[in-house]
């Protein structure tokens, strides 16, 4: 065969030598890569942990709701506080002939023997269960009818999931105690239900099943049902039911119910997610930093490679490939960390949800694969996004310029005006987004735009500042002259480190101001509102909300107690606002609120109002039943800036319209509150119970004596709690602090990410200068001086970050207080500026930077002069 006849071979190119090269570099500079990995990992971990913890609380609630709702398509809900009259169920079965209906009586109880958690006591009617839930299907029972005997005929018998029984070591026949708003009820465990799937096992972990008769007795709901589940198979079924429903009940789809719960916590969850995203942004800076460095450091090498025929595409692939691997490893590590972290923060989140929204008990962190996938995808894509700029830069530069070390920095210098311009543009966009009345997501987008814009402003500001400080540092001698110049000379890397630190510190400033202002506002509000001297409530199943009512005998006795000048009483129920009316115009709506029935003002006129009719105390008019007082949150969350003339509430007697007398501040609920006088409330809602009381002692009476007498009188009664104003106030603040515990934790994490960023940036920066340092050392610089120079540089960088973080932090606080908070929760806060927020943040920035400088300084000071110079 002659050569001419051989098929012509395509020229082969392989990336393999490039990968080997990358691997060798990784081995030499592993610390840098590990730090970068950690940056990605922490960013992803925060995102994933918040997602998981949020999701677990939500899932736990939905699972238990679903476990109860089963295959129901609709539910009949009660508008009246007492529940649905049980005769409605009888009518549905006997007049409408609909048998795919199941009555439920449920409520929350505390189970001291089961980890003292709030559990949902669910009273079921086993005979109507089969179309809905299969837990008690006859074919799945081990003892058949004989086992049912005790469950049905013996009062106070319950069924638990096998898992819960095992976890708390209770067995069939054991007696447990249930705490029903302070009333202790002994119950006997007569059955253990073991669902097949783990999902359902989790769902049942916060439920206690009992016969509907027992549930009515334990929850004192004789004659009433909590709701009625139904499966509607034909349109006619619903018509038949609607015609039977009394006015105090309404028909809802099962989906609508679940949605309402999701809506309730949406703002809360979004806020947490945004905070976790902020960590990822800081992490992105870090990746950008590391990748930029690895490109910068290899510029000569890339130049040589390009001269040898490596294509720009291959270089791009190499850089992006390296980053992808870092991204994948970091994300996977982040998942692990995130899961661990989620386990510790799920408790904090659950607590807040319990305090403010609904009772949920989360036994374990649910780990849905889709959330993990989301975490990994966001981690990898943000790593790739951060690497894109340096990769493209390396690809586009000609081999010749690559070989010139200064070309990159020249480019950055030329970019400075453009960066300034982009800051202006992005900030304007951010302000635009914030001004749009378009919901929370848009507001957060605006917030992020402002933060990113400020990051772009960092290089020009750093350059300017360094020029400005040069005369000052000059007094420190040669070192003082060198340090600022060094920073400017390597602006492409130093400014990224500064920006990362700045963002992290500004988050600290912003969140601190917001939380501080919030706390001051709440303290003021509590001090103004809580004017009564003594508070009497049933013990709360959760800290913030009173569940249950006081024994009427106790109420009557309190009202006659000697030495009291005034007694105010409250009761509440869930209600729905169906319309806001402005003069002739009516806005239809559907908002769940807390309706408070009040007899007397607990603030004795001290409470501030954001709006009052004719600027007078609204309570006399309220007492005459002339209207209602609504909370600011109700209006703000409905995007209403002015007070409506009247609002319409859904009531057991149909829609009721009330004039609005005033708008008050209420930081206890973000769902909206409406206060109504007790006379119309009892008349319309038919609930004469009292949930809490405020007692005012007469001026000449010693408060402590009264409190002591009361406590003595009700000693041993678990269903009455007597508290002084101070303890109630402290309790409320405790809840407040608990709510923000998670914010503090996230803030700390953001700082850690930033610290790692600064450390890795500085290290790379200093290590890159090994040869230069060698020359400096050879020309007489002592290791001591080298130390000083490094720390001076990092200190300067920390200063710049701290300097920039203060205005940005203030802006963030402003946005959080006046935009995010108002739109999320409908609360207006008074901004409180405390100098300590600023100087502490500055200190954090400088200390972080200095700490980050120690390791590179130590490394550099130990470099031997000869080997440093030889390195070239």
């Amino acid at each position: 065969m002659t050569a001419a006849l051989e098929p012509q071979k395509e020229p082969q190119s392989s990336n393999r030598p490039l990968w080997r090269m990358a691997w060798r570099r990784f081995q030499q500079r592993s610390l840098q890569y590990i730090l970068c990995l950690l940056g990605v990992a922490l960013g992803v971990a925060m995102l994933v942990s918040i997602d998981l913890a949020n999701g677990s609380a939500q899932t736990a609630f939905e699972l238990s709701t679903d476990a109860i709702a089963g295959r129901a398509t609709h539910q009949i809900e009660s508008i009246a506080p007492a529940g649905i009259d049980e005769s409605v169920y009888l009518q549905i079965r006997q007049q409408a002939g609909l048998t795919k209906t199941a009555p439920i009586v449920d409520g929350y109880v505390l189970a001291p023997d089961l980890g003292n958690q709030p559990m949902r006591l669910v009273g079921v009617d086993l005979f109507s269960e089969p179309p809905f839930r299969n837990y008690f299907a006859p074919e799945n029972q081990t003892v058949g009818l004989a086992g049912l005997q005790t469950f049905l005929t013996e009062p106070n018998t319950v069924v638990l999931s096998t898992d819960v029984a095992r976890r708390y070591q209770v067995d069939l026949g054991d007696t447990l105690t249930l705490d029903v708003a302070g009333r202790l009820v002994p119950v006997r465990l007569v059955g253990k239900v073991q669902p097949e799937s783990t999902t359902a096992q989790r769902a049942l972990s916060s439920l206690i099943f009992t016969d509907i008769a027992t549930a009515q007795e334990i929850l004192q709901m004789e004659g009433h049902l909590s709701h009625i589940d139904l499966i509607a198979e034909a349109e006619g079924d619903l018509d038949a039911i609607s015609s039977l429903l009394p006015e105090d009940a309404r028909l809802e789809t099962a989906a609508a119910q679940k949605n309402a719960v999701r809506q309730m916590t949406a703002a809360f969850r979004l806020n947490l997610t945004a905070l976790s995203l902020l960590a990822l942004v800081v992490g992105m800076f870090l990746i950008y930093n590391t990748v930029t460095f690895s490109v910068v450091q290899r510029r000569p090498l890339f130049g040589v490679l390009r001269c040898l025929g490596t294509t720009p595409r291959q270089l791009f692939t190499l850089i992006m490939g390296e980053t992808a691997i870092l991204g994948i490893l970091g994300s996977v590590l982040g998942l692990g960390l995130g899961i661990v972290l989620a386990r510790s923060i799920v408790g904090l989140i659950t607590q807040t949800i319990n305090d403010f929204y609904f009772v949920v008990s989360v036994q374990q962190v649910a780990i849905p694969p889709i959330l993990l996938l989301k975490g990994v995808l966001i981690g990898i894509s943000s790593a790739l996004l951060a690497a894109l700029v340096p990769a493209i830069e390396a690809m586009r530069t000609s081999p010749q310029t690559i070989l010139q070390r200064s070309s990159l920095e020249n480019k950055v210098q030329k970019l400075l005006p453009w960066l300034f311009l982009s800051w202006v543009v992005i900030t304007v966009i951010g302000i635009g987004l914030l001004r749009l009345q378009a919901g929370l997501v848009v507001a957060f987008a605006g917030l992020f735009a402002i933060v990113l814009g400020s990051a772009l402003l960092t290089p020009p500001v750093t350059a300017t500042l360094m020029k400005l400080v040069q005369p000052l540092t000059q007094s420190l001698g040669v070192l003082g002259r060198l340090a600022p110049r060094d920073i400017v000379r390597s602006l492409s890397r130093t400014s990224v480190a500064i920006a990362a630190l700045m963002v992290a510190v500004s988050v600290i400033v912003g969140v601190s101001i917001m939380v501080g202002s919030f706390r001051v506002t709440v303290v003021q509000w509590l001090d103004q509102t809580l004017q009564a001297d003594i508070y009497v409530t049933p013990p709360s199943t959760t800290a913030n909300r009173v569940l249950g009512q006081l024994d009427p005998a106790v109420v009557a006795e309190m009202k006659r107690w000697p030495g009291l000048e005034d007694v105010v009483t409250y009761n509440d129920t869930d209600a729905t606002v169906t319309a806001f009316t402005y003069g002739d115009e009516t806005l239809e709506t559907e908002r769940s609120i807390k309706l408070i029935s009040a007899e007397g003002d607990v603030s004795h006129g001290q409470r501030p109002y954001s709006w009052r009719q004719d600027s007078i105390d609204p309570w006399p008019a309220l007492d005459r039943g002339e209207g209602v007082i609504v909370s600011e949150a109700l209006l703000l969350k409905a995007n209403l800036s002015d007070s409506p003339t009247s609002i319409t509430l859904d009531s057991p007697q149909g829609p009721q319209t009330f004039p609005v007398l005033a708008v008050f501040y209420d930081y206890s609920s973000d769902q909206g509150t409406v206060i109504l006088d007790n006379d119309p409330f009892i008349q319309i809602w038919g609930d004469e119970g009292i949930a809490s009381m405020g007692l005012f002692t007469a001026p000449d009476i010693d408060l402590d004596t009264v409190v002591e007498d009361l406590r003595e009188r009700y000693q041993g009664r678990t269903d009455v709690v007597v508290q002084s104003t101070r303890s109630l106030r402290d309790g409320s603040l405790e809840i407040f602090d608990r709510t923000f515990a998670i914010t503090q934790a996230l803030r700390l994490l953001a700082v850690i990410v930033a610290f790692i960023g600064v450390l890795s940036a500085l290290m790379s920066l200093q290590l890159e200068r090994t040869r230069e340092i060698g020359i400096l050392r050879a020309t007489g610089m002592t290791p001591q001086q080298l130390w000083w120079m490094t720390l001076l540089e990092t200190g300067l960088m920390g200063n710049v970050a701290g300097f920039l973080a203060m205005p940005l932090g203030y802006v963030l606080a402003w946005i959080l207080i006046y935009v995010i908070n108002v739109r999320s929760f409908g609360w207006t806060l008074q901004m409180q500026l405390n100098p300590s927020y600023f100087w502490q943040a500055w200190l954090v920035a400088i200390v972080a930077a200095l700490l980050a400088g120690i390791y590179p300084a130590w490394r550099l000071s130990r470099v031997t002069v000869a080997s440093a110079i030889r390195e070239e």
């Binding site: 049980e86 009617d125 081990t142 003892v143 005929t153 069939l172 669902p195 799937s197 359902a200 849905p368």
Partner: protein, 376 residues
């Protein structure tokens, strides 16, 4: 590439499966604690005085009780239907619970079977319901007579006139039944079913009750008339050990006479000696038959295509004492109730001779214990 694609698809599918609402098909098992004590119910040992209307009502001191309504109906054009509407009561503990606290507290379980046999279309519609005998959801009362479960009921609307109502997804029944005089079965109502003392039930029947009203099948409502049979029994564990089930015949002849046979079977299929029956002539004269007074011969068997259970499906009954011989055959084979208890109960037609005179009629037959031993 393809392998990757396959992997990706299965991964994504996996996510969907894991994310799907599993509870929608959730199964679970319940482990119950045994009952605190075995309840002590009264047993049927000696004849008691049954009086009406008092004994139309429930007897909560006995564990088990049932009210059976069966009947053969016909439209004016001769289209045939059979119906069964039965209410069962099962006491979990004897007597009634204290009525304090929740109205839902109950020791009475009621369940009901309603079937309609559409002979012309060979369609059978069995439906079952459960409820507790509390909160007015289900129950029985003597005066005014009413037994009910949800919207299914038998109610005395005026003296001697009963209104029957039941409906299922595809069928409905609305009948007026004229009460006739109750006939006490067995020894003054004590109907022995086993060898030991207490293996018995109190049992009376109300037969040849003129019936008219409507049946609804698949949206079509038809006016019908015919004759209904009522059985009311109450007892506590009436069967003796080793009883497999029973074959019950309620045969209403055109000449006004009726024959009830209660054949009890042992595990090996042989007749137990306690099998017995009753013949009531057109004048209302009652003749009790013991197991030796009649012969029952199975001519054919039918295997249910759904449950694979084999049931006898055609009989020759002879009562030499009455010079009576007749063939009884199901009007259609598939009248099997595949409900929480499995049994066959359906409309039958009768033809034969008595004293060489041709006789004919219609009736109902119940066959229990063919899939497994009936437990009480």
């Amino acid at each position: 590439m393809q392998r990757w694609l396959g992997w990706l698809i299965s991964f994504v599918l996996g996510l969907f499966v894991m994310g799907s609402p599993a509870w929608a098909m959730e199964q679970g098992t319940v482990e119950w604690a045994g009952p605190a004590e075995i309840p002590e119910f009264q047993k049927a040992t000696v004849p008691i005085k049954l009086s009406f209307p008092k004994d139309f009502g429930p007897h909560e001191d006995y564990q088990t009780e049932w009210w059976y309504y069966t009947g053969n109906l016909e439209t004016e054009s001769g289209r045939l239907f059979g119906y069964e509407l039965t209410l069962f009561r099962r006491g979990l503990t004897p007597g009634l619970p204290d009525q304090q606290g929740s109205a839902w507290r109950s020791n009475q379980v009621y369940f009901s079977h309603f079937t309609l046999s559409d002979i012309e279309n060979q369609q059978f519609y069995p439906v079952e319901r459960f409820n507790r005998g509390a909160a007015e959801l289900a129950g029985a009362q003597a005066n005014p007579y009413r037994i009910w479960l949800d919207d299914w009921s038998v109610e005395e609307v005026q003296p001697g006139q009963l209104q029957l109502h039941a409906q299922g997804p595809e069928t409905a029944l609305n009948l007026q039944v004229s009460l006739t005089t109750p006939v006490l079965q067995g020894n003054k109502g004590l109907f022995v079913k086993g060898s030991e003392l207490g293996n018995a039930a109190y049992y009376y029947s109300v037969v040849q009750q003129p019936t008219q009203g409507t049946v609804t099948v698949q949206g079509e409502t038809l006016t019908v008339s015919g004759s209904s049979w009522t059985d009311h029994e109450f007892a506590t564990r009436p069967l003796s050990q080793g009883t497999q089930g029973w074959d019950w015949f309620s045969l209403q002849l055109e000449d006004g006479s009726v024959l009830m046979l209660y054949g009890l079977r042992s595990h090996d299929g042989s007749d137990l000696p306690e099998s017995s029956g009753t013949f009531i002539n057109a004048e209302g004269k009652v003749l009790h038959l013991n197991g030796k007074d009649y012969q029952l011969q199975v001519l054919d068997r039918w295997t249910s295509p759904q449950s694979r259970t084999q049931y006898p499906s055609k009989w020759v009954i002879s009562v030499p004492k009455l010079d009576l011989e007749m063939q009884v055959a199901p009007m259609m084979n598939n009248q099997e109730l595949l409900l929480s208890t499995k049994y066959w109960e359906g409309a039958v037609s009768i033809s034969g001779t008595q004293s060489q005179q041709p006789i004919w009629g219609k009736g109902y037959v119940e066959l229990t214990g063919y899939d497994r031993e009936l437990s009480f």
